[in-house]
């Protein structure tokens, strides 16, 4: 390709010749489509794009995207991605992981990549179950989940991916779900964010944990169950009949009724993606009493890890000429001719 102007790519250009091997009806298909729709729209170049994954159903993802791809080992995708990005900061790095890969075996790496703020997109497919190993409960499974390894129900409390990410220092936290038409918008915002962008994507595992998110993903539940956040817009749901307000006495969020569209009177909060305190409340909002907060929950960029490394390397090397011969001869030396003498 010698063209100076890049050819406009289509979703089709981001498909590989590999047969997709997820179960029929798996939510991963919809996420793959959403990503393949998003990539042309953000002007991504296949040669410059790297998808890196760990192990699990979600981690097969790179095989199906026509870019560079690295299917690594269980939980370690963030660490591999860190090396890739430090070696070549020009690459556009996407990490695809799951609730087991990213929060159980790889929880440590997820925490540190977020803390360091490596410029990349982290897509965590949360299906609250181990799919590839045939259905054991995962760290995000709800208490009481019956699975082959917990026949009497799980007894441990579930991890909250978005809360974990924010607590680890993430500067971008987004949420969506597999079949949502808004998912590409969340992905676009994540890509536009410079730094580690964490996106929790609720994904329906139709074989081992079917419909665990139906309470808010199904059409009939969408109005009451989904709170789509937009920067500068009031936090409204239920077709504008309800909103999220601050209980100023207890400093917690509450659901309020909005009459005649007068959300201001009801005290509904206007979403500010840079408000970290509110973001902490949004990621902790218990579903049921509240709708599920979706969209961009938090987006406030900070300097990235790889840019700081590049800058420090350049600074430390400034004015120094690499000279191997000089390097190996450094320190206190002496010359042996016939009689030793100090030089």
């Amino acid at each position: 390709m010698n063209d100076m102007t890049p050819v406009q790519l289509t979703p089709k250009d981001w498909e590989t010749d590999q047969e997709v091997r997820w179960c029929p009806g798996c939510g991963d298909y919809a996420i793959l489509k959403a990503v393949q729709r998003t990539l042309p729209e953000i002007g991504a170049r296949p040669e410059n794009t790297v998808f890196i994954s760990g192990i699990g159903c979600s981690s097969r993802f790179p095989y199906y995207v026509e870019s560079y791809g690295f299917h690594t080992i269980h939980g370690r995708a963030p660490a591999v991605a860190t090396g890739v990005k430090l070696a070549n900061p020009e690459l556009d790095v996407w990490i695809v992981t799951g609730d087991g890969d990213g929060l159980s075996i790889g929880g440590n790496h997820t925490m540190h990549i977020l803390r360091r703020n490596l410029d990349c997109q982290i897509l965590l497919f949360n299906n609250e179950i181990y799919g590839l190993t045939k259905g054991q409960y995962s760290p995000t499974s709800r208490e009481g989940t019956k699975s082959p390894s917990t026949p009497f129900g799980s007894v441990d409390r579930a991890a909250k991916p978005a809360a974990f990410a924010l607590g680890s220092g993430a500067r971008f936290v987004g949420r969506g779900f597999d079949v949502s038409k808004n998912l590409p918008d969340v992905l676009k915002a994540a890509h536009a964010h410079r730094g580690a962008a964490f996106v929790e994507i609720f994904q329906n595992c139709i074989v081992y944990n079917k419909d665990v998110f139906a309470d808010f993903t199904e059409k009939k539940n969408a109005d009451e169950g989904q709170l789509w956040l937009e920067h500068g817009k009031p936090m409204l749901f239920a077709k504008g009949a309800k909103g999220i307000a601050l209980d100023v006495e207890r400093l917690v969020l509450k659901v309020v009724a909005v009459t005649d569209g007068d959300w201001e009177a009801a005290g509904v909060i206007v979403h500010d993606v840079t408000n970290r305190s509110v973001a902490h409340m949004l990621v902790e909002m218990p579903f049921g009493a509240f709708p599920m907060a979706l969209g961009v929950l938090y987006d406030d960029p900070a300097p990235t890890f790889e840019s700081a490394v590049v800058q420090q390397n350049a600074q430390a090397a400034k004015g120094k000429m690499p000279d191997l011969q000089k390097l190996v001869g450094q320190g206190q030396t002496w010359t042996v001719t016939k009689a030793p003498q100090v030089v």
Binding site: G69, H71, A87, H109, Q332, P340
Partner: protein
Amino acid sequence: MATAAALEPVDATVRDPAPDAVVVRFAGDSGDGMQLTGGQFTLSTALAGNDLATFPDFPAEIRAPQGTLFGVSAFQINFGSTDITTAGDAPDVLVAMNPAALKTNVRDLKPGGLIIADTGEFNDRNLAKARYDANPLEDATLAQWQLLAFDISKLTLESVKPFGLGNKEALRCKNMWTLGLALWMFDRDRQPIVDWLRAKFAKAPVLADANIAALNAGHAYGETAEIGGSGLGLKQFHVAAAPSPDGLYRTVTGAEAISLGLVAGAQLAGLPMFFGGYPITPASAILHHLSRLKEYAVTTFQAEDEIAAIASAIGASYAGSLGVTSSSGPGIALKGEAMGLAIMTELPLVIVNSQRGGPSTGLPTKTEQSDLYQAVYGRNGDAPMPVIAARSPADAFDCAIEACRIATRYMTPVMLLTDGYIANAAEPWRVPDMNEYKAFPVEFLEKSQDGGLLPYARDAKLKRPWIKPGTPGLMHRIGGIEKAVDSGHIEYAPANHQAMTDIRQAKVLGIANDIAEQDVEIGTAGGTLALVGWGSTYGPIYQAVRRARAKGLDVSHIHLRHIWPMPRNLGDLLRSFGKILVPEMNTGQLKTVLRDQYLVDARPLNKVSGQPFRIHEIEAAIEEHLA
């Protein structure tokens, strides 16, 4: 002779006969600065033209409780006018800064050897901590040695009085006082130490002055004592310079040599280097050294754990840098799965293992060679990986370059074995002429092979192409799942797995055709007995064989650098000897591999005490096997 001939105190006016070599051990509390004293004594000894080898031996605790037996830190140096390859067997001189140091070290001292002790520290409290019922300086406990006991603490305090330091700070100068005395005893120049102190305390000139005053006072004490005023009988020794090949020299530790070799290796390959590390004793020094060398296109990354350290290095290699990681046994164990990933994805990677005593946490600061099985076999699946072992601090430089060469030429991870002894020990190093090293520039694949992209197509050496993300038109996917021959797509077919397993094995075994044939260090190819060693046992094996041959025994020394694959002539070479003895600081790991590979009757000689072999231990084994 490498270890000390009997130490002959000589009159200041008559310098002969001088000893060939002297072994001095400085021992004190871990807070006494013994490693620093030893390091500076090493420097001045190197500058005096002696050949030398050192053995730092310190506790795992940073500041172990003062005065305790387990808190003793020691530094041994063997220096002389002949070829020195070990830190010496038994010390000729022991400097004991407190009762605990005396107690834990005196049994190693040669009969008739010299003890220098600080009486200021031999108080009831310290004697009790060292479990002495009575003061050994005052009874017959030390009768078989020469004893010089004087109040170094008090003498130090007096010497630094003009600088107005607090008592604690003033006493910290004790090690410099002792060093001053040692420098006098062995006729060493003080100036390099003075320069070093000035640089070290540039921001606190008063501390520099105080330390220099203590150094000078210790030196003057020796002089005055010799003049006869004190009647202590302190004598000066002169050890002549060793005849070394002409050239520029410096001292180097194994950790320094490895760092320099890695930088040189990356440069010879024409690649930026990425080093992912996680702090662990005794490997951390490599991370420290490399983190200061940014102008050589070195990026260092202190990862969150050992696994992230290697995984990030693999990521960097994937993106076109030379990925390097380093650790010690426990950390290497954690990296095992990722090594398999590098083997499967066929990416270059150098893994440095500074071995220490194991299993588990084991002996973090002591030396052992017990990770050979782990290096050669320690991964799931059939996971062949080249393994190289350095024999000495200076040798580690060439070994690191060799590891980089093999990693890039064969697209494979390579493990470089060193150990705690090599990492910390210093020896004189003839500064290499970098023009003598042949570059091995890497070529990345820039466009598809004819007929379409095949990321797992192979050249004559079975190497697959290295394709950097960012290269237009060459997008492809790799991973830890079995790959189809040539295309690298996911493939579970039985015949394909057989084929790929065979290829991975043949590729690594083929490296045997690209390395030097095994030579014999001393002795002959063929004979009655061969001693086969690897790694840091080089020094004691070499000296033991040399001594045995001087007695007329038919014994030869073979020392392996390439542990896997082994040199192509090794089988024939081993079979040309009647007997094979393998001294190792483990329970017989190389011995087992040799038996397995060549069906030879290799016999073990093992030591796993955390301490290096002594020459006489190996010498005795030679005599036993030739009896």
